[in-house]
Symmetry: C2
Subunit: 285 residues, 2 copies
């Protein structure tokens, strides 16, 4: 595995491959890799001539006061995992080479960026859209891989790619979960033992909301109430930012669930840790 | 000359050329072509395997109340000029194919976008940056050509291209002028006979400001006053939006002119017509 630090070098390498007809699969990450990331890499490995994984804790997507400084980092362990997963190139730029001092451009996707997590993390999705566009331009992937754990992020990226006429395929991969249902996330490392034991309540709450819909409930209020009541049953949950049923494209919370698919999504706090999860129901009748 | 209307078709054509090692030169225009545009096309013709000119009156860069509806359009005459200039492809998309109903992405360059013209045309440079990025992604040029008449626009585009890691060269070409000094512009067609006769005052004013600097003046206030006094001497000038000496990179108006280059720029109204012009002095001592 080759490690590239400089955007310019990554770009030259990527263009050489692309112009030789090689398709690059890109897996953008912030490091602290877990099985969720590795499942993206396996998908990329299966579908592309070359796999590039990026590790970049993107300062632009952290709001002031968020966990940029303490975000988990373990480059040595990450490199071992990437090598074992047969990644061709690790692109791991320094923040100063991605955002030089006079950097002043941002990419914004109106509407969906302000909802759900966007309402609680001002500027977050502009930071995501901007860095992902930069990574696309630097790595020139034929396909880029994202996990559905960050559902809203995938929506923002797909919209940006379509609106800006990018010629690549955005591939979305299923959320990977621990045995007890907790969605894998680098931020799970923040949880204490008792918090970790309590955390599966998030997925349990979404599944109970889903069960109500599967049982025929189409009004959003009772579904929301069901999810909230499960979350409130866990004493270590000390904040619910949002938790309900949403339109999977607009992310708006409807009065009644219409169409044949619905998104159940929530963001909560357990201790000092913010956790998100989601569930998509398709084939509703 | 081939004419392409659909972004998807243009993109497929462009990628085929690019992957065959052909370098495309792009000249983005809003049509109503004049000698300024044709000079860009000649530059593109000299430096590239293939020349694509685009004609698209971009609604996103017009503020409400501006001249989007009456902006001069003459597709038949434009096509003759492009053919005569040996353009390979005219890309002339419909607004609905560039901005489908759910379009919601914008690209913004902080700082420089809000100054000079940006202070009088809210959202203008976001509209420019967004459409130019779209055109770059659709046409995949090795080089793109812009006229220095729209100096601030060239600055915004260069900054966007650098910040977003675009792999193309932005080529800037000198302003083309009428015999009496008036900068060529599609909007000159709005001028009545007497307004047209008065319009060269704009370039004359900038040149008098430049002469003061060449004569040793380094304080901005007297230079600004000189430019304004020339403009005020013309009774048909019925508004000065801005007119002074500026830093050519930040577009800020300094108290004293420093370094070895300076931008003289102005936007005025003559009748109902808004005219801009600029002049760059290099090699100051």
């Amino acid at each position: 595995m080759e490690t590239i630090r400089l955007p310019r070098v990554m770009m030259d390498t990527a263009w050489k491959e692309r112009l030789h007809g090689k398709g690059i699969g890109l897996v953008p990450t912030m490091g602290a890799l877990h099985e969720g990331h590795l499942s993206l890499i396996r998908a990329a490995r299966a579908e592309n001539d070359m796999v590039v994984a990026s590790i970049f804790v993107n300062p632009m997507q952290f709001a002031p006061g968020e966990d940029l400084e303490k975000y988990p980092r373990d480059m040595a362990a990450d490199m071992e995992k990437l090598k074992a997963a047969d990644v061709d190139i690790l692109f791991a730029p320094e923040a100063a080479s991605m955002y030089p001092k006079d950097f002043s451009t941002s990419v914004s996707v109106r509407g969906i960026s302000g909802r759900l997590c966007g309402a609680f993390r001002p500027g977050h999705f502009d930071g995501v859209a901007t860095v992902v566009l930069k990574l696309f331009n630097i790595v020139q992937p034929a396909r880029a891989y994202f996990g559905l754990k960050d559902y809203q992020q995938t929506l923002v990226i797909r919209k940006m790619a379509k609106d800006l006429d990018l010629s690549l395929e955005i591939v979305l991969c299923p959320t990977q979960r621990e045995a007890d249902g907790l969605a894998m996330s680098s931020r799970n490392a923040y949880l204490s033992g008792s918090e970790r034991a309590a955390a599966p309540v998030l997925y349990r709450a979404l599944r109970e909301g889903a069960a109500a819909i599967r049982d025929g409930e189409r009004k959003t209020a009772p579904v929301r109430e069901k999810i909230h009541s499960v979350l409130r049953s866990e004493p270590l949950v000390n904040g619910i930012q949002y938790a309900s049923a949403y339109d999977p494209e607009s992310l708006e919370e409807p009065e009644k669930i219409k169409g044949n698919s619905v998104l159940l999504a929530a963001a909560i706090r357990i201790g000092a840790c913010r956790l998100i999860d989601n569930l998509i129901l398709n084939d509703l009748k």
